[in-house]
């Protein structure tokens, strides 16, 4: 059963092929068409959404704000933010890697190929690769890897070497390994199940990479522990870094001030909007959560 549109709401969203009457647009509301939506492993799913070309401007670290269909006949009131996992320009599609957490993602999990899916974006400031960086280290855990994965695409395009340290509970939920490797990254898997994800071991791995000059910058997402570790090692070795943060959102483009996180800038604590100044921030300024 495909749900009808909810006629209590109105939108001027762009569908594939629509002429954009507002070409100054940087952010769109789009009605895409689901091309596929399938489980990746025990916990994660991967959705491919064909969408208006304006949406294909998204780059690594940016996100979309998704109007998830209701899983149960009661309204899902707010959109859900998701990092763009991959932009497939040739296929005219954006992709998301997601974990079913609650009602929104449960509804998303029910989408079938051919269904419409209303997504808004691309939103926020994503990852930036500086020309000086020749080799970067990407560390992520869980759905955080969905955010980091497109970074490997970006790095590949710019000829930057990537080592991806993928942390997970057990082998069954290691994610994005294939995508990272396909794009030329070297991957290191660390697991809770065999103890390799322990901070000391990850620290050892990173110190080796630093010694081998394979760590011009750190990128992390999804683990406060990995953030703290890379902040410490970054400070110690004077290596810059970026972190993608999460926070509950309402608008997604800077109007509501719901999505605040605390940062420390020049010894002073400030609040920043995850949706606008972020979701990617200077790692050393992040206070964590």
């Amino acid at each position: 059963m495909t749900l009808d549109p909810n006629h209590n709401y109105s939108n001027a969203a762009l569908r594939i092929g629509d002429v954009d009457r507002y070409p100054r647009r940087r952010v769109g509301e789009f009605i895409g068409i689901v091309a596929s939506n399938a489980g990746v492993n025990d916990e994660y799913r991967h959705i491919v959404v064909k969408v208006h070309e304006q949406a294909l401007k998204a780059y690594a670290g940016q996100m979309f704000h998704l109007l998830c269909p209701s899983p149960d006949g009661a309204e899902v009131w707010m959109r859900r933010p998701m990092s763009v996992y991959r932009v497939d320009k040739a296929a005219g599609a954006v992709e998301f890697l997601y974990k079913i957490e609650g009602r929104g993602t449960r509804g998303m999990g029910k989408l079938q190929p051919g269904d419409e899916f209303n997504i808004a974006g691309p939103l926020g400031a994503g990852f930036k690769l500086e020309p000086a960086w020749k080799n970067i280290v990407v560390l992520g855990r869980g759905v955080g890897l969905a955010t980091l994965a497109p970074l490997s695409q970006l790095a590949a395009e710019q000829g930057v070497g990537v080592t991806a340290i993928l942390s997970a509970r057990h082998q069954g939920v290691v994610m994005s390994k294939a995508l990272f490797e396909e794009l030329g990254a070297r991957t290191v898997t660390v697991l809770d199940s065999d103890g390799t994800s322990a901070v000391e071991n990850v620290e050892r791995v990173i110190e080796e990479l630093i010694a081998a000059r394979k760590a011009d910058a750190f990128f992390t997402c999804g683990s406060n522990r990995l953030l703290k570790l890379t902040q410490r090692l970054g400070k110690k070795h004077n290596i810059p870094g970026q972190v993608a943060m999460e926070q509950i959102m309402v608008c997604g483009f800077g109007a509501c001030y719901v999505c605040m996180r605390t940062f420390e800038v020049d010894g002073k604590r400030v609040l920043r909007r995850v949706c606008r100044e972020g979701p990617v921030f200077n790692m050393q300024e992040a206070v964590g959560w």
Binding site: Y9, A12, V27, A120, I248, A255, L271
Partner: protein
Amino acid sequence: MVDLSVKIGDITLQNPVQPASGAFSWEYNDVIDLNRLGALVAKTICREPRLGNPTPRMAETEAGIIQSIGLPGKGIDYFIAHIVPEYAKFTPPLVVSVSSETIEDFAALAEELSVPDVDVIEANISCPTRNSTGGNFAMHEDYTRDCIKAIRAKTKKPLWVKLSPNAGDIVSIAKAAEAAGADALVIANTFLSLKIRTDNFRPALGNKFGGLVSPALKPIVLRMVYQVAKQVKIPIIGIGGVTKAEDVVEYMLAGASAVGIGYAGFRNPTALISIIDDLAAWCDERGITKVTELIGAVRDQDMETDTLAAASVGV
């Protein structure tokens, strides 16, 4: 093609659809053409820079969201120097919402904000989560009168007053605001609410209380607009649960001259544009040539009912 323009006092809006304060910023320009809106309404500004309330600032409930932002902002000086010019790039009138905890400061702020690029001062005397001990003058008739009188004395700009749905007798408060010199009434702000998490027994919001925002509230606010419209002469902007063109019509029938939209623009970032388009189409289909024909046009004098006429009195 219907004429969608409406007048709020001396200000003409090209159409009756405007954003609600706090649910909008010039950054919306990334998404929609701001020049199509009836007005631009800035986030409520206070004198000093404020961080706002602790997070989380939003939680979903069964039928809407509660939020408690706490009026963060960079203060009035930054606002006049950097934010007003951002809005000035667009053509619709700029409504500047302002809040303070003392009457004197409120009036002084209004005076300072009366710069050329500002078209309307909206006195937000009704923020439910600003502070439990002040700032929410709209709960009382007398406070409302004193506050609006003081502001009126300090500015010649059109003065809109945003009322609180948490007040018991909104009609008296509306009349007090009118008597004190308000040029229009904005009805209403959000409903003071609480959500407690049953997993950890804690309030769901960092600030404990929050404002409830939900299309469910439209019937309550609509009732307030209807009651107030029968008792005041100044125009009303209805705010609360507008999510589609028919809701604009419903508010106008009840007596509003325009509406403000918050939630719907969060759910559908392009909603304000489509609601304007849908409203025009709705009028055109019915041969309504001026949208102002709808204002107060509710047919409440000749109710049709199929049971006993004087039923409420008894057998």
